[in-house]
Structures are given as C-alpha cells and as structure tokens.
Subunit: 108 residues, 2 copies
DNA sequence: CTTTCATATAACCATTAGGTTATATATAAT
DNA sequence: ATTATATATAACCTAATGGTTATATGAAAG
C-alpha cells in the first residue's frame, strides 16, 4: 500500500530520510537543514507520513519525526522483488536466503 | 542520471517493462495489451526512453522497443544502495558480496 | 497577559503527469 | 493511386508536485 516510489522519488525527501536515520528530529531541525521554506518541508513530511515512511509524535510545541523502518523495509522488498525479476538479478535469490534465514556469513 | 524512481513510479510503465522483459515488442503490441489510448502509451514509452530504461528501433512502419538492462541495473543498484543504507539491512553487505563476486551458493 | 517560537494552513503559481480525442504522417498492401 | 495500418503530434483536460508568501494557531516563556 505505501508507495515507496512516490515517497523516495524526491531528493529532498531522500535527504530528510537520511537525516532521520541518524535519529528522530523535530520539524524545526529538519527545516533548518534545508534552504527551503517551512511549508515546503512540511509538505514533504506530509507525503512521507501519507506513505507511512515516517511517523510523527508530539512534544509540547514540537513535532518529532522518526523513520518507520518497517514500512520502508516492506517497500524496499517489493522494489527489489519487482526490479530483480526484471533483471534476473542474483540479489533476488540472495534476498530469499536472507528472508529464510539461510544465509551464513562465513567470514566472521 | 537516469531517474529510476520516475521511470518505475507508474504501474503502467512497470507493466510495460515486464512485457519487454519477455522480449522486444512493437508499439502496437504494447498498446493492445492495455485498455488505454495509443498516445497515452506513447507518453509512457517516451518517459522510459528519456530515462534510458528502454530503447527504440525502427522496422518499416513499426517501432520496436526493448528493455535496457544496463541502465536498469545501474539505477537499481543506486536505489538498493540508498535504501539499504537507510535500513542497515543485511542486504547491503550481501550486495557487496555479490558485486565483489565473493558469494558462494553452497547449496547447489 | 503578552510575546515568542514552532507549527499549520491558505492562497497562489508554474510545471509535470496521465489521460483524452482528433488529426497528420509514413510505410505497406491492394 | 488508393486504402489501410502504425505511429506521431497537437490541443485539451484534470490532478498532483514542488515551491512561494502571508497568516493563523498553539504552546512556552517573560
């Protein structure tokens, strides 16, 4: 259901997600990281929220955004599945190993 | 440079790519596979061409479209790299195995 | 209670996307 | 030469994107 292509299709949104990967951030912190108006950033946050790639929580006058790894992972896997099939890429079979827990990293 | 998010962001275009994976197709064949006008399909083909995900060749009055696996693979890897980093997914390290050719499938 | 700060919302703008119908062009077939 | 077929293009429509500025709201600090 969440549209990862939509969510990740914009470079500003990808940048926001990279920030959130480092830890949750207030909207203010995010806005300050860009040379862009607060409403513009808010629109990007809204799209990420709609696609459930991030979540929002309240703390007084602050809104705190965090990345939603579950949803991202689901979309990620769908994309890998689809494109991998197009490519007959080895990663698709690897992916199955990972998901079945059958992969052993024998170098460690 | 090719924008894979843009190219793959539309379900019709993903469907077209799935068709082309089965082999090159004329525009006519593609149009017939959809309940959509020829100009609409042509627009999708143009976007895929712009993003270099497919190529076009001429054969008399026919235009033949084929999938461009190289470009797809490049974009695919960029996406996997980016999202994988967000997720710190095991797939990222797996991906490196694959690309370095260090993975051995010990089940076969 | 007034001011300040963080966020939200409204109104606007230009561009792109995704579709339509109608029509032009180019090649092939009769 | 005419007709049929495949593709291209133009004009149009609606909705979504990505941005702006101006203003409203809500919480916290003075």
């Amino acid at each position: 259901m969440p549209n990862v292509y939509r969510a990740l299709g914009d470079p500003t949104r990808r940048h926001i997600l990279s920030m959130l990967k480092q830890g949750s951030k207030t909207q203010k912190e995010i806005v300050e990281a860009f040379d862009m108006s607060q409403p513009a950033i808010k629109k990007h946050l809204n799209i990420l929220l709609e696609e459930r790639i991030i979540s929002e929580s309240l703390n007084g006058k602050y809104r705190i955004y965090s990345i939603n790894l579950n949803t991202l992972q689901i979309g990620y896997r769908e994309m890998i599945q689809y494109i991998g099939e197009l490519l007959d890429d080895q990663l698709v079979s690897l992916k199955n190993y990972v998901e079945k827990g059958e992969f052993r990293d024998e170098e460690n």
